[in-house]
Structures are given as structure tokens and as C-alpha cells.
């Protein structure tokens, strides 16, 4: 069936088989291969993208469910081409090694810190608990997220 949605700020329309997941659709149809599929079971979180502000598992979402939505993937995190503050903090803290889980980590944290820019370390760890990383042991990812908070705090007052 025909679907239309906004991807990283730009409108897109395409034919999607009803059985195709959003992850496969993004990767194969739109060639946005930054979204990775690590398990297809909804457990590892590598495929996390943001749909209408919420971090979701694109391997458990059908492409047709995105019809009419605003979808953001890792490719849309830094439209200017520079690293966003969150991405720069990842680099500074060596919060990635093989890079495979990284897009999912970034999208999970971007959604969290957009909603809760004052999230404390425990809250960050709790939310990251849904994303698996096999390289870093998470410690530098948490450190990067804590450092990046300030960049999200501009518009929001601490609750």
C-alpha cells in the first residue's frame, strides 16, 4: 500500500508491503542504513528511531504504521553535518567502539533528553536499559549522556 510520512524533516511517499517492518523500509526503500537491525525481536534496541517524539523499535513497527508520522533516524540528528552535542559527547567519552548499537543509543537518548533534559544518571541508566551494547560496558555512554544534557536544557526549566 501507499504510505506517506516525514523523514528527517522531508516528506516522503512510497509503496510499502504490509509485512515490511519500518526498519527494513528505512534501510531498503529509503537507503537510510544508519538504522541497524541487531535482533529483530525488539530486545536489543539497535533499530530505535523516533516517531512523533517517541523512541520506538523499528523492527517491531510496520512501515505502514508510520503513515502520516514524523520519523527521525540517526541520519537526521545533525542536519548541518557537524556532530550534535550528544554525538560529540559520544566521541569525547569513547562511548562507541564497533558503532553497531550506536544509532539506537543516540536515538533513545535524544528522545529522553528532549523530554527530560534534567534526567539524572539513574534515570539515564534505566532508559538505556532497553539498548544492548557489547563493546563499551555502558559506562562511557552514560557519561556522554550526562554531559550532553546541558545542550537540551535551553528551552526547558528544571522541574
Amino acid at each position: 500500500m501507499q504510505i506517506a510520512f516525514t523523514i528527517n524533516g522531508a516528506p516522503t511517499a512510497a509503496e510499502a508491503q504490509p509485512r515490511v517492518t519500518l526498519a527494513d523500509f528505512l534501510r531498503e526503500k529509503l537507503k537510510l542504513t544508519g538504522t541497524h537491525v541487531g535482533c529483530s525481536h525488539g530486545v536489543c534496541g539497535a533499530c530505535t528511531v523516533i516517531v512523533d517524539g517517541a523512541a520506538i523499535r523499528s523492527c517491531l513497527t510496520l512501515a505502514v504504521q508510520a503513515d502520516g508520522c514524523h520519523v527521525t533516524t540517526v541520519e537526521g540528528l545533525s542536519p548541518s553535518g557537524d556532530l550534535s552535542p550528544l554525538q560529540a559527547a559520544f566521541r569525547k567519552h569513547h562511548a562507541l567502539q564497533c558503532g553497531f548499537c550506536t544509532p539506537g543509543m543516540l536515538m533513545t537518548l535524544h528522545a529522553l533528553l528532549t523530554d527530560e533534559p534534567y534526567a539524572d544518571e539513574a534515570r539515564i541508566r534505566e532508559v538505556l536499559g532497553g539498548n544492548l551494547c557489547r563493546c563499551t560496558g555502558y559506562i562511557p555512554i552514560v557519561a556522554a549522556a550526562c554531559e550532553a544534557r546541558i545542550a537540551y536544557q535551553g528551552a526547558k526549566v528544571q522541574p
Partner: protein, 763 residues
């Protein structure tokens, strides 16, 4: 004792340089094998055995072929003579046990490939795979090393035993030492089956060029040049007609990048049908198809004086290798024998490592193979002895650790072996023990050891370890000056997510005296160099890095000669510094000025001597006896790596590996039932560490003893982080539960198992 400090003559090496790779990974521009597509490609799905041991009576592929979009189904019959997958170490006893590229008549584990379906899309291929009907007549099972060794059921035709290899590591005269020893203690231990589990599953995209009869296989990792040789042999093709191409790799940890059955099958299909063929493993099949690891049982006896001087160690370790010997499996068998007490001076030593076949997924290397397990076995034994003889646990170890005066200290002699006898290269092992005790606060935390606070049983434990690195035989590098004056570095090493491009750039930039940004690193793929070796056994930085030094020296010499010719002076009158050739009269030529000459230089670093990083880890745990749940309150490791090229990435390796090792201690497990069925198939059942589990991990790196075996002074350091984890944490849990009468001898320490141990002790 002499203490040397690593020299820091330059800017990049030794600095925590941010990684080059990160820019593409953070913006979604990495390119992993699943990201590749080719015009007209077919997709493959693998049909796997659902039985652990049986004779294939029939394979009916008609229904699968009838599905629209299905192009072909291949079985052993279509392959013809099914090749065996070559082993990376060539000891002859193992050869008959190598894995066939597809099950031919007999299946020997659940998940063994029996057919390959090719279709227009991956979805259709998977649908069709479900429609291949296999009739398999069950055969009796072998599910443990003991049953394997007794040999009543033989797994491989034309063999007389299920023992594929047996190695003895020996030193001194163990029998004599034990005969007169004042104290002996014998214990059995076990580490359970678990696996590397990188976040990216495996994948292969193979292309066949009919015009040149050339095969290109994407998705290579770890050892692409050896794998090219293996594939060429299996496909009966000239090596020059095969290229293995490296993409970005989503984690290796020792398991990815060996030749697996699928690598052959996809390549075979690409050639047969002259089509690009793509196969991406799904996570469920990864559990049953990728190398398992770590399942080792040990029966060890130790001899010492009553005041704690070690006199001897002897015993047996049995490695459950699964159904076949895979290319890297032998490393665990060798290591478990040689390094059973790796960090200690034990004059009389006699330890056997035995490789036993069973009807389970074949095993292979996983970060710290044989070392992670041996640390658990031996360090548990040390604590049991310390408890028995009322020895201080630190002093007992300090007294027996290898010291600077012992260096180079000979390893136990391994037989059979194709490697030369080895030596621990440098270091003073008690130094990391003392530094770790200081960082961890051992003396203070000792007051909590064995106490119960708020119903939590506190315990502390430690482990001393060595990490072998820098495996030979050599590595090759080529440096080329581009027309822009930038330098391209071609390395035979491969990247598995560890930051190879950054580290090679640092070393080259310092050696060439130019900014890192002017160096571009290409690596891994077999079309870059005539020969390369890869990334395994913590070797890439040391062997590959030293090859960069050799090539850089030659390149600077080449620049000097070329500049001299332009200047019309003798080379001695030219000074090359900071990327510029200077004549004595003030004329200069930059690399860019010489860019039209396409100057290049090759470098090889040959290495027959391994490096040995070493260290000590300490852990503080609190166990809830009512649930069996263990909380890791603090974990500290101190290692000496000789020379840290990039402290940022090194620290990342150590911390990340520690958490990976904690998964093996507390939650990861690959249990089989009595029918040989693997009982886990997703991350919901195979529980890996998550962000909330282990926040208190600390690592400190020392550089007091550079390796004398290479000009950088570096030692391999990719595995040390995981090696001591089970030893240190196992001892901490044991210390916590000792007052309850619990002795820890087996992993994993899941809440359920710990609770059972506590209940059993109370009964």
C-alpha cells in the same frame, strides 16, 4: 628491580586521541555488510538441522522450489565433494574433525546447515526454508565431555576417538614434587558454555565476475587473508581469483571472521549461478550457528608448603568443543593447559588440555580463550588453599607471582605444539597487585569480608592474570604519498570495532611527523596488499603498529632520495622533518610537491615472540541469600600494557571487556536439554549485561615495563579486561558465602544457582 618508563618523544602516541572512525558511525554513515546491495542479487536462507545427531534419510525441496520467487535450493548433493573448513593451526590430529561446509549424510548439532535456499527477497527465502522437509533418523547423542572421552559413541566416521587433540603443558617434575609435598589439595571446577555475541550478526555478500572468473566476498573480518586462502582451497580456485572484502564490523570478540559454513555456501552459490548472493544471519540462527565458547571442566591438584610457597600444579582440563573443530578452537585447548596458572612461578607443572567432541554447536575462540576459564579455576583453588592454610590472600599471591628478576620467564612447555617455546617477556607482577589493592582499598574492604549487612552477604576477591598478545608471524603495511601530499596507509590488519584506523594513524603521524588528519587508513581487504594477517590474539596494534614504523622509516628515506634528486644534491644534504624535505641552502619540498612521484614504501614487522600484559583485578560483592542475587558493588582492575598507544581506546577495551566478562559470570548461559536442543534463541533468554547492571567498574593502566620484543614497547591489550573477571568475582562471591558453608566451583552464578547452593548448604 629496575623500573623503566616509556618514552614520549611524540605527540599522538600515548595521547587519548578521539577516534577517526566515530564521525561516520555517529552520523549513520558506517557501512556494514547488511548495508550493501547489488543489482540483481539473490537472497539466501539456510535450512538447519533440527536434530542434534542423525542420518539424513531424505530432503524434499519441491515445496520450497514451488514458491514464487524461489530460484534454487542447494544441498550437499549439489556441492559434490563437500570440503572441510581448514583449521588456522595445523596440528594433524585435529584435521579429521574439521567441519564440512554442509551436512553430508549425517547431522551432528542442532543448527548445522543442510540446505541453502536462494530467492528474490530475504522474506521469500525464509518462507521457502520452512518448506524444505527433512527426514532425519536419530542417532545416539554425546552431550558431555565425559561421555565423549569414553568413546562408546563415535561422532566422526573413520575415527577411533572423539578426542580431537590432547596437549600437555609441563615444567619440572610434578610427580616428584607431589610425592614429597607437605600440602596438597584437589578440586574440580567448571565454566559453562556461553558465547561472544557481537551486536551485528554475521553476513556475506558474494559476487562472481564471469568475465574474469573472479570471486569477491564481502563481510570478511579478523583474518581475511587466511580466509581467502581457505575459501580458494574449498572452492578449488586459485587464491588470486578470490578477494575477501572488509566492511565495518559490528564487533568480533574472537568469534567473527573465521570461515563458517555459510561463507563457503554463499560463495559457491554466487559462482554457480553467476549472481550476487546476499545472506544476513538472523539473531536466532546466530545462537546456534556462531561459535560457542568457554565450556571447560577442570580437575586440578595443587602442592605447596604450609606457609604458601607453590611447589606444583597438575591436572586435566576438558574442553567441550561441540560437533566439529572450527578454525580457531585449538587456541582454547592450548591456552587452558599452558596458562592454567599463567601469572605464577610454579616449578613443577603438568596440566593436560583435552579437546572432546559432543553434539552441540562447535566452539571457537572468544576473547581471552582458555584464560578467562583458567583464571576462574586456578584463582578459586588459590583461595581454597589460602582458607585451608590460613594464609593472607594477597601475601600468598605476592609470594608466588612472577617478578622482574624472573624475566624472561619460560612458559610451561606445550606438546604437541607447532609454536616455539614461549617466555613471559617483561614486568613485575606483584606491582599490579599492590597498585590494585591500593586503588580498590583492599585493606578497608577486608573488614566487610564475610559480614552480613541488611541481609546482604559481603565478600571481596581478587585474581592475577596474564594476557598473551602480538601473535605472529608478521604484518605488512604500505604507505603511499598521494598527489595532495596526504598519505594513505594500507594495513594487513583488520578492524573489528576496536579503533584500528585511529591507532594506525597515530603511529604513522608520529613516525612521519605530519598531522593525523593527513593520513587515511585502508585495511583488511585482500585486494590492498599481497599478504596480511589480521586482528586476533590482541595483535593488530603491536604487530601492525610496528609494521607502520618500518614502512614510515623507508618512506622518509624515499622522500629524502627523491628530494635530493630534485634539489640536485646528495641525499645526505637533505633533511626531512615535519613533512618537508629541506636542502641545506634553504630550498624546501613538501610531500605535496613530491605528490606526482607516487612515492611509496612497504614495511613488514615479523614477530615470533608474544607480548604479555598482566594485571590484577579485585571485586566487592553483596549477595542476597534470600534471592541468590549478587550485586557487584565495586570492581577494579590494574594492568600493565607496556605502552599505551591510545589511553582512551585502551581504557574502553578494558572496561568494556570487564562488563562482557560479568555477563559470563552472572547471566549468560547456553543450556542444552537431554535431546541436544539449545534452550535459548533470543536476547530475552540469553541475558547480557545492560546499563543498569554494573556501574562501578574502574580500570587503571600502568606502563612500567614496555615489551622488549618490539620497538613500540607495546603489548597486546584487547583481551586483558575480560580474563580476570570470573576469577576475581567468583572469589568475592565465594568469600561472601563461605560463612554459609557454600563453596563456589561452577559458573554461572545466576541468582537461581546461587540460591540453590545456599539451600543445599543449609540442608
Amino acid at each position: 628491580m629496575s623500573v623503566t618508563t616509556a618514552k614520549r618523544p611524540n605527540a599522538y602516541v600515548g595521547s587519548p586521541v578521539e577516534r577517526v572512525e566515530d564521525l561516520r558511525f555517529l552520523t549513520g554513515r558506517g557501512e556494514y555488510v547488511a548495508d550493501l546491495t547489488r543489482e540483481g542479487q539473490w537472497h539466501a536462507a539456510v535450512v538447519r538441522s533440527s536434530l542434534a545427531h542423525g542420518r539424513i534419510v531424505s530432503l524434499d525441496v519441491d515445496q520450497a522450489l514451488a514458491l514464487p520467487g524461489v530460484r534454487a535450493v542447494l544441498t550437499a548433493r549439489d556441492i559434490g565433494i563437500v570440503p572441510l573448513i581448514p583449521l588456522r593451526t595445523g596440528l594433524p590430529s585435529y584435521q579429521p574433525y574439521a567441519q564440512p561446509a554442509i551436512a553430508d549424510n549425517i547431522v551432528r548439532y542442532v543448527g548445522e546447515p543442510i540446505a541453502l535456499v536462494l530467492a528474490d527477497t530475504a522474506e521469500i527465502a525464509e518462507d521457502a526454508a520452512d518448506k524444505v522437509i527433512s527426514e532425519i533418523e536419530p542417532l545416539p547423542l554425546v552431550l558431555g565431555w565425559d561421555q565423549s572421552v569414553n568413546g562408546q559413541i563415535l561422532l566422526i566416521g573413520d575415527t577411533t576417538t572423539n578426542v580431537a587433540g590432547r596437549h600437555l603443558a609441563s615444567r619440572g617434575d610434578a610427580a616428584a614434587a607431589f610425592a614429597k609435598a607437605p600440602y596438597r589439595r584437589r578440586e574440580t571446577f567448571r565454566v559453562h558454555r556461553h558465547m561472544a555475541m557481537p551486536m551485528e550478526t554475521r553476513g556475506v555478500l558474494a559476487e562472481w565476475d564471469s568475465a574474469t572468473s573472479h570471486l569477491t566476498v564481502h563481510g570478511a573480518a579478523k583474518a581475511p587473508y587466511f580466509n581467502r586462502k581457505s575459501l580458494a582451497k574449498m572452492l578449488n580456485m586459485p587464491e588470486a581469483s578470490v578477494d575477501c572484502m572488509e566492511c565495518d564490523v559490528g564487533g568480533g570478540f574472537g568469534a567473527r571472521g573465521e570461515v563458517y559454513p555459510e561463507d563457503f555456501l554463499i560463495a559457491f552459490a554466487a559462482r554457480k549461478f553467476a549472481r550476487p548472493i546476499k545472506w544476513i544471519e538472523d539473531r536466532r540462527e546466530h545462537f546456534m550457528a556462531m561459535n560457542h565458547a568457554r565450556e571447560i571442566d577442570a580437575d586440578l591438584e595443587i602442592a605447596c608448603t604450609r606457609d604458601g610457597k607453590l611447589l606444583g600444579l597438575r591436572g586435566n582440563a576438558y574442553i567441550d568443543c561441540g560437533a566439529y573443530i572450527r578454525p580457531s578452537c585449538i587456541t582454547s585447548v592450548r591456552n587452558i593447559a599452558t596458562f592454567m596458572a599463567g601469572a605464577y612461578r610454579i616449578p613443577n607443572f603438568e596440566v593436560y588440555g583435552t579437546a572432546a567432541l559432543t553434539n552441540k554447536t562447535p566452539a571457537g575462540g572468544f576473547r581471552g580463550p582458555g584464560r578467562y576459564e583458567s583464571c576462574f579455576f586456578f584463582e578459586r583453588l588459590m583461595d581454597i588453599v589460602a582458607d585451608d592454610l590460613k594464609l593472607d590472600r594477597l601475601e600468598f599471591r605476592r609470594r608466588n607471582l612472577v617478578t622482574a628478576d624472573d624475566m624472561p620467564y619460560p612458559l610451561a612447555k606445550l606438546e604437541p605444539s607447532e609454536s616455539p617455546d614461549g617466555f613471559l617477556d617483561s614486568g613485575h607482577y606483584p606491582a599490579t597487585l599492590d597498585a590494585c589493592a591500593h586503588e580498590f582499598g583492599w585493606a578497608d574492604k577486608l573488614k566487610l569480608n564475610g559480614t552480613v549487612i541488611d541481609n546482604l552477604h559481603h565478600g571481596i576477591g581478587l585474581c592475577c592474570f596474564v594476557e598473551g598478545g602480538a601473535a605472529g608471524p608478521r604484518e605488512n603495511v604500505r604507505l603511499e604519498i598521494e598527489s595532495s601530499g596526504d598519505v594513505t596507509l594500507y594495513s594487513g590488519s583488520s578492524a573489528i570495532g576496536q579503533g584500528l584506523e585511529t591507532v594506525m594513524s597515530q603511529i604513522a603521524a608520529d613516525a612521519l611527523e605530519i598531522p593525523m588528519e593527513r593520513i587515511r587508513v585502508l585495511h583488511g581487504s585482500t585486494n590492498l596488499l599481497h599478504e596480511g594477517f589480521g586482528s586476533f590474539a590482541s595483535r593488530a596494534t603491536v604487530v601492525g603498529g610496528n609494521a607502520v614504523l618500518v614502512a614510515a622509516k623507508t618512506l622518509l628515506e624515499t622522500v629524502r632520495n627523491a628530494a635530493a634528486e630534485r634539489f640536485q644534491v646528495s641525499p645526505e644534504a637533505v633533511l626531512v622533518a615535519n613533512g618537508v624535505a629541506n636542502a641545506s641552502d634553504g630550498r624546501t619540498l613538501s610531500f605535496a610537491d613530491l605528490g606526482d612521484l607516487k612515492l611509496k614504501a612497504e614495511g613488514t614487522f615479523a614477530n615470533s615472540k608474544a607480548t604479555y600484559s598482566y594485571g590484577t583485578a579485585m571485586a566487592h560483592v553483596a549477595v542476597d541469600a534470600t534471592t541468590g542475587f549478587t550485586k557487584l558493588l565495586e570492581y577494579q582492575v590494574v594492568d600493565d600494557v607496556g605502552r599505551a598507544i591510545n589511553p582512551l581506546t585502551l581504557h574502553g577495551q578494558v572496561i568494556g571487556a570487564a562488563v562482557q566478562g560479568l555477563g559470563g559470570v552472572f547471566s549468560e548461559d547456553l543450556p542444552y536439554d537431554e535431546n541436544g536442543q539449545l534452550l535459548v534463541g533470543s536476547f530475552a533468554e540469553y541475558v547480557m549485561p545492560v546499563a543498569t547492571d554494573y556501574p562501578n567498574i574502574h580500570a587503571t593502566t600502568m606502563e612500567q615495563y614496555p615489551s622488549p620484543n618490539n620497538p613500540l614497547g607495546a603489548k597486546g591489550a584487547g583481551e586483558g579486561g575480560i580474563i580476570p573477571v570470573a576469577g576475581a568475582v567468583g572469589n568475592a562471591v565465594a568469600a561472601a558465602l563461605a560463612p554459609l558453608g557454600v563453596t563456589i566451583r561452577h559458573l554461572p552464578l545466576t541468582p537461581a544457582r546461587v540460591w540453590e547452593l545456599i539451600q543445599a548448604a543449609r540442608a
